[in-house]
Amino acid sequence: MTWQQKILRVDLSTASCDIEPLNMEWANAYLGSRGLGSKYLYEEMDPAVDALSAENKIIFATGPLTGTMASTSGRYTVVTKGALTGAIACSNSGGKFGGELKNAGYDMLIIEGKSDKPVYLHIENDRAEILDAGDIWGKTVWETEDILAAKYDDPLMRFAGIGQAGESGCRYACVVNDKHRAAGRSGVGAVMGSKNLKTIAVRGSVGTPAASREVYRKINEINARMNDREGMARDGTLAMMDVTNGFGSLPTRNNRSVRFEGANKLNPEAMHTPNANGHTNIVQNGACFGCTIGCGRICKIDPAHFSVKDRPEYQGASGGLEYETAYALGSACGVDDIDAATFAGFICNEYGMDPISLGGSIAAAMELYDIGAIDATTTGGIKLDFGNAEALCQIAELVGKGEGFGADVAMGSKRLCEKYGHPDLSMTVKGQEFAAYDGRSMQGMGLAYATSNRGACHLRADPYGHDFETTEIEGKAQVVAETQRLVAFMDSSGLCLFPSGCGWGTEDYCELVDLVCEGDWNNEARMVETGERIWNLEKLFNLKAGLDKKDDTLPRRILEEPADVGTGKGLVCRLDEMLPEYYAINGWDEQGVPTRDTLSRLGID
């Protein structure tokens, strides 16, 4: 049993912190992290509230395996109503914060209300206090961590907080922990900022509830069973760059193309090869709590590069490009400058922004600029051409600070493109920017984007294998529906998705959960049913929030403009053919609403 069976409830309006028991009945049905956090949010809050109002809640939820010695067990989820999407937001992060929260004795934080002045939350085991944040409000994520780490003189204190982007209401502001890990998507940082909550500082010495020596021996066996750790560590997620570019599914220049001629300047080879100055981008790998892979890229920008010249504060090593960042701040904007993309990524970590949505929004702005819908007058003199690396870096900083044209880009590409009269140019679903896969050559991913409960996302289903096998749509609806359930389960365990499929099979996830939870969890049927229950609950939240079938769609470009090259050349996404089958497989009606029978079968009232 690795539940602490305790929740810390923080009401910022009344400045109160109360400990209450975890609802174990719900934990048995929704497991933890994403699933259990969503259950609490659904039960406690009207999904129709304004995401940036005091009525919205923000939940930091660990899973039963978080903070254990299971590999990749550093994960936690931030659950709230997303500021970017108006949909349920379940934004997952690694690093060391989640394990420390568990170590302090809590499975979950539920934060509600709104403070009338900037505050931060300090947690040390049973002691939780809401403190004045006057001296850190307006600081970056990095500065905030450094100031508080020095104040408490505790190198093991962990932080999850926002930068200026979250304070200024950037719609895709994220929550950053450990300086460069982030609960990145859907604007969870904007929600935190709207509550005047700057950061959460947590330190624990309670420990994770001890299981038997035998349990830990078995966990170790499963850790050792993970395949290809060396391969996953060597290139990290960036290995995908060559795969999608070769296949023809790498979104390029706001999805005008699906192949980027500059991909070889952003790929693992480019990251590992010294440039003309003898500078190598990658310094070392980084690993989250308990991870035996270490997929993180710790990188340095060439000190001679325009972005950091005479700015020594950016010349040190920090979180570098992962695949999604390299796409969003690279190919999506037509930028092939690895140092510029790395710099924009640093800015995301420092100011607290989702790099996928930042890159997608800048790419949309570049297309608006390209077609003449905006000009240098709008951008404050910045020549926002596709491929302009200096413009990318300039805009990133302006968005972080909420200044000038950056305030427009901070709205996200949907609101940006609507403002300037071209809503079709926003590559989003439910207001959230695409991840690094094009839904024309990867038809399953197109369906996964359209139906994702949190808006366009590559981590809500697992159609990769099927998509790389065939562009025919037969079987895609089944694959997407089934893997949405599996992913929901895995996300709720406290483990990372990265090794799933390549390193671990679903049976390994089941067995690990079974080792630390009561009852029979070593059972794939229960895994699937739990994931399906979570998926349906998230769907119900969105329906009550006002999102329905009309929101399960894709931008006109993906539905009507054929892919220009590669395996999917000539194809558009055949969403209208896949969606009815997908709804039927889920036990939903023709409008995408779960039927009474489906909800009854899953035990949802």
């Binding site: 296949f247 080879e269 590559h458």
Partner: protein, 83 residues
């Protein structure tokens, strides 16, 4: 004739000694099939991959039928996911 071969991701571990970061050149006889080339690349049989020939994906059942030409570029991609 020499065929350019690139192995991405963890597959590059199986390049012949002396190869560059992830590329090598493999000599095959004129008229060789794609299948014959792939047999010369020592990727273990339990490591699946996709094959891209001159920027286009090739299905497995076509490996025997495709005859290579000089300057062909062959890329092997591992099945990975996520990001």
């Amino acid at each position: 004739m020499d065929i350019s071969v690139t192995l991405f991701g963890g597959l590059r571990h199986y390049l012949p000694a002396g190869s560059s970061f992830n590329k090598c050149s493999i000599d095959v006889d004129e008229g060789s099939s794609l299948a014959a080339l792939l047999q010369k690349i020592p990727v273990p049989s339990d490591k699946p991959y996709m094959v891209i020939l001159n920027d286009e994906k090739v299905a497995g059942d076509q490996f025997d039928e495709i005859t290579l030409r000089g300057n062909d570029q062959v890329v092997l991609l591992p099945p990975i996911k996520g990001g």
